[in-house]
């Protein structure tokens, strides 16, 4: 099969770009090296939609962040993705830091960030009473929000597939050839031909670029560690609370999540191994120390889990977007570190624009439907809706995950969805089964059973997240 465009990497950038391209009459393939979408940086980041005052004026980061932040509420509504416009605060603990806050404000103005103001201690403490007593003031950016990054990726992929994009999982690109104006990609799932490539392979995008002889992508892999705290302390703050930024990033934040938990982190540590998403005792300690500085009441005694995520920091310090100097049909989408998630909707438009202009006069896809309806979520339904749903499908009456109240019906839906779940973590990200207090202690084995049944396979072939992450060995008898 020959495609017009092959997008490498089904993270939030790849997924939204695929959806954007499905608005046109193009054959698009979305190639993912692992067993699911959102398995890299899109799975494990802060989930913040930044207002856009961090990046230097004139950069792609500045332009696309402000634009993406403005697009996010409507996009999330269209795709039924949880988003909340909770606003952000950059908190200063000294007069010196108040200067930084002013600098950020001025930068924000230059970048075109709306609805910002600098507030003093009293107003700040009135807004967020759980902040430390030694705060001096803050930059209040009302356009900032929070979003679930993997749900956005999942929803975008689903919608792209519904609109004709072909999603290929476990399809790792190993080599790229270029002949007669067309690329031939050797992958772990067979050969793929495409006229254009969009390299959205995240931490591995430099390796992909090298496959066409483009050595220009220079990345440093930076790891961030986080804790998720129980919903019982989810309302410690209502805004996303940052400390003043350093050259390693935006520092440790304390933020509610769209699911009602509290998120603290990330650390910032440059690492060699591009897939090393382990947490470290030192990193977790750093998160604890710095989050307490903002909110003294935050305690990891309430932690339900910790995790780490990788971001591909570009040495150039700006997003790498656009045609390769080696081959103009190879489009870079690299170095998408923060504010990458915030910018993602704008990046997708930016990339689609490059492709359609380069191809010249691409017809619109008349049957494109950008709306993705949310699946039935038992826990959010009214009694009447629950009754009706169970009548239609009794599986909605069987609770599998007790902590989050997730039904068998929802799990089956997640497996059967376009680009649906194939492993336990995939079910978890789509339904929240196993994401609660017991972390899958009770429902884990049932999810494995349902996956095996729906996929028509033995339970010991079911994995946690693809690869060799099997959960069970042989039968005991």
């Amino acid at each position: 099969m020959s495609y017009d465009v092959a997008i490498i990497g089904a993270g939030v950038i790849g997924a939204l770009t695929a959806r954007e391209l499905s608005k046109y009459r193009l054959n698009v393939a979305l190639l993912e090296a692992t067993n699911d979408v959102a398995m890299g940086a899109s799975k494990a980041n802060s989930g913040i939609v930044h207002a856009g005052f961090d990046a230097m004026p004139g950069t792609l980061k500045a332009e696309l962040n402000v634009k993406g932040c403005a697009m996010m509420p409507e996009l999330c509504k269209t795709l039924s993705v949880p988003y909340k416009n909770n606003g952000s605060l950059v908190v200063a603990f000294s007069e010196e830091e108040m200067e930084t806050v002013k600098e950020l404000y001025n930068r924000g103005i230059k970048n075109g960030v709306p609805h910002m103001k600098i507030i003093g201690k009293d107003e700040l403490k009135a807004m967020e009473p759980n902040l430390a007593d030694n705060v001096c003031g803050a930059l209040d950016a009302q356009s900032a929000g929070i979003v679930c990054p993997y749900e956005l990726t999942i929803a975008a992929t689903e919608n792209a597939v519904t609109n004709g994009v072909e999603f290929k999982r476990n399809c790792k690109v190993t080599a790229i050839d270029f002949n007669n104006g067309e690329f031939t990609l050797a992958t772990t799932a067979g050969e793929v031909k495409a006229k254009y490539i969009i390299d959205a392979a995240g931490a591995h995008s430099d390796e992909i670029a090298k496959m066409i002889g483009d050595e220009s992508v220079k990345l440093v892999i930076r790891r961030g560690e986080y804790f998720i705290l129980d919903k019982a302390v989810g309302n410690t703050v209502s805004h996303t609370v940052f400390q003043c930024p350093t050259k390693m990033g935006k520092g440790i934040l304390v933020s509610p999540t769209v699911d009602g938990n509290l998120l603290i982190g990330p650390t910032a540590e440059d690492i060699e191994d591009k897939d090393d998403t382990s947490t470290t005792p030192e990193g977790l300690k750093t998160v604890k120390t710095f989050s307490v500085k903002s909110c003294p009441s935050v305690s990891t005694r309430n932690a339900i889990t910790s995790f780490s995520g990788l971001r591909a920091h570009p040495v150039s310090d700006d997003f790498i977007l656009g045609p390769s100097k080696v081959n103009a049909q190879f489009i870079h989408a690299s170095g998408i570190e923060s504010p990458g998630l915030s910018s993602a909707p704008a990046i997708a438009e930016y990339l689609a624009d490059i492709i359609t202009k380069a191809m010249g006069g691409v017809e619109k896809n008349g049957s494109f439907n950008g709306v993705r309806h949310d699946v039935f979520r038992f826990r959010h339904a009214t009694d009447e809706e629950k009754k009706a749903a169970i009548e239609k499908n009794p599986a909605y009456g069987r609770i599998i995950c007790r902590c989050e109240t997730i039904t068998e019906g929802e799990i089956v839906d997640a497996i059967k969805a376009p680009a649906g779940a194939r492993d336990v973590d995939g079910v978890k990200r789509r339904t929240r089964a196993g994401m609660g207090r017991c972390q899958g202690g009770f429902c884990g084995s049932k999810v494995v059973e349902i996956l095996a049944r729906e996929l028509g396979t033995e339970v010991n072939t079911i994995t946690k997240f693809g690869g060799k992450s099997n959960i069970l060995f042989d039968k005991t008898k």
Partner: protein, 418 residues
């Protein structure tokens, strides 16, 4: 909407015993709501023996112990709905539940017995650094895989936590052909029964490393190993003692937490130490007509005690429904003295005309100590104990005669004297 005198939430040993006792006491319409496919609760996967010695005078396996109660329930007109999850209990004791066959159920209860049991503490609460590989699971989850589903969840196993489930699983995995490399325990003493250390670890030469914890997990897909380390007196890992152990499975047996989400939603008061409801001697919570018993109230080490406690709750619920029991209520709180971590019940109606048994756990190991019950400054009983350990639940009885002399300002203290 359905109407029942008594709704029992949970069909494990606690729920069944409470329902049967209430029936025996004359309650007419009783229903048990159980979220699993069968009655029996966690006993169904506890296929080892050691159950029933106190209550039945014979040593039974978990399913055998449960089967006796399941058979008894079947002989009564107690209604049972399995595969049914209770979603909510209202202020007015209206129970909302759901299952495949009935859809959304609304049941108005005169009284409710909470018997939801407990869950295991997961990894997240432990702050173990490292990868998120597969092969890290609680001992109870592993137990279900082996004993119910018939699959091996691991071949080379490290167990963190020496609670009874961890010890039992060490033996179970060994017998099924796995290699259990070590059992690590953060505390300087085991949280499990001594007999389980003997017959589950010592019998198979499985080392038990006290004051030791797992600090890091390794392996990207499946677990490949763990780093363990000894801890200092503040339970902090000692860097120089770090040691890598190759394994494909890490089982966690690091504590049980009563499952009180429903309880909390009703607004029932929770004891911060037991993580269960605050109850009186009939196991009634501070919400009239709502009782709690078994592991949802406080974690027991013997199911026999769960049964006995649940019978009290069943009788309490029956009294409440039928308007029997003590006519007057004057509560005196029970107070933990030296060495005692918690007491259940947390308060006693002194107008109750019977002896009241207080269950408790100690906070550390005591040798050749005395358990003292002191009421209004007077020592009521002082019992010698060769050994007291946090892993073993103890009890002491307040005689009815002592209660009869009390007033609302009285005190009830249990303490350990060395």
């Amino acid at each position: 909407m359905l109407n029942y005198d008594l709704v029992v939430v949970g069909g494990g040993p606690a729920g069944m015993a409470a329902a049967l006792k209430a029936k025996e006491c004359g309650v007419e319409k009783i229903i048990i709501l159980e979220r699993a496919e069968t009655l029996g609760g966690i006993l169904e996967q506890c296929i080892h023996t050691g159950f029933g010695l106190h209550y039945f005078g014979e040593e039974l396996s978990g399913p055998e112990y449960a089967a006796k109660f399941i058979a008894e329930v079947a002989e009564t007109d107690i209604d049972v709905k399995t595969d049914t999850m209770v979603l909510d209990i209202s202020e007015t004791n209206l129970v909302t539940a759901v299952n495949k066959a009935d859809g959304l159920l609304k049941i108005q209860a005169k009284a409710i017995v909470l018997a939801m049991g407990c869950r295991e503490r997961p990894r997240g609460a432990l702050e173990i650094a490292g990868t998120r590989a597969s092969g890290i699971m609680t001992a109870g989850t592993a137990q279900k895989y082996v004993n119910i589903d018939g699959y091996m969840p691991g071949k080379k196993v490290v167990i963190l936590g020496s609670g009874d489930i961890g010890l039992i699983m060490a033996r179970r995995m060994t017998l099924e052909g796995a290699e259990v490399k070590v059992v690590c325990e953060l505390m300087p003493y085991s949280g499990g029964l001594t007999r389980n250390i003997v017959q589950c670890l010592n019998d198979f030469n499985i080392p038990l490393r006290l004051s030791t914890t797992v600090v890091e997990t390794h392996g990207k897909d499946r677990l490949e190993g763990v780093t363990i380390a000894q801890v200092d007196e503040h339970l902090q890992p000692i860097e120089s003692t770090k040691e890598y152990i190759e394994c494909d499975t890490l089982m966690l047996s690091v504590g049980l937490i009563p499952e009180n989400e429903l309880t909390k939603n009703v607004g029932i008061g929770i004891d911060r130490i037991t993580n269960g409801a605050v109850v009186d001697e009939m196991r009634m919570t501070d919400h009239p007509g709502v009782f709690a018993c078994g592991n949802v109230l406080h974690v027991h080490d013997l199911v026999d005690y769960v049964t006995l406690e649940s019978q009290i709750a069943g009788e309490g619920a029956a009294n409440y429904i039928l308007g029997k029991g003590s006519k007057e209520t004057v509560y005196v709180n029970t107070t933990t003295g030296n060495g005692v971590r918690y007491l259940v019940p947390q308060r006693v109606n002194i107008k109750n005309e019977n002896d009241v048994k207080l269950y408790f756990r100690v906070g550390r190991i005591f040798k050749n100590a005395k358990v003292v019950l002191e009421c209004d400054g007077e020592i009521i009983s002082s019992k010698k104990k060769v050994k007291l350990a946090p892993g073993e639940m103890e009890n002491v009885i307040i005689p009815a005669a002592t209660l009869a002399k009390m007033t609302k300002d009285s005190s009830i203290v249990v303490r350990v004297e060395e």
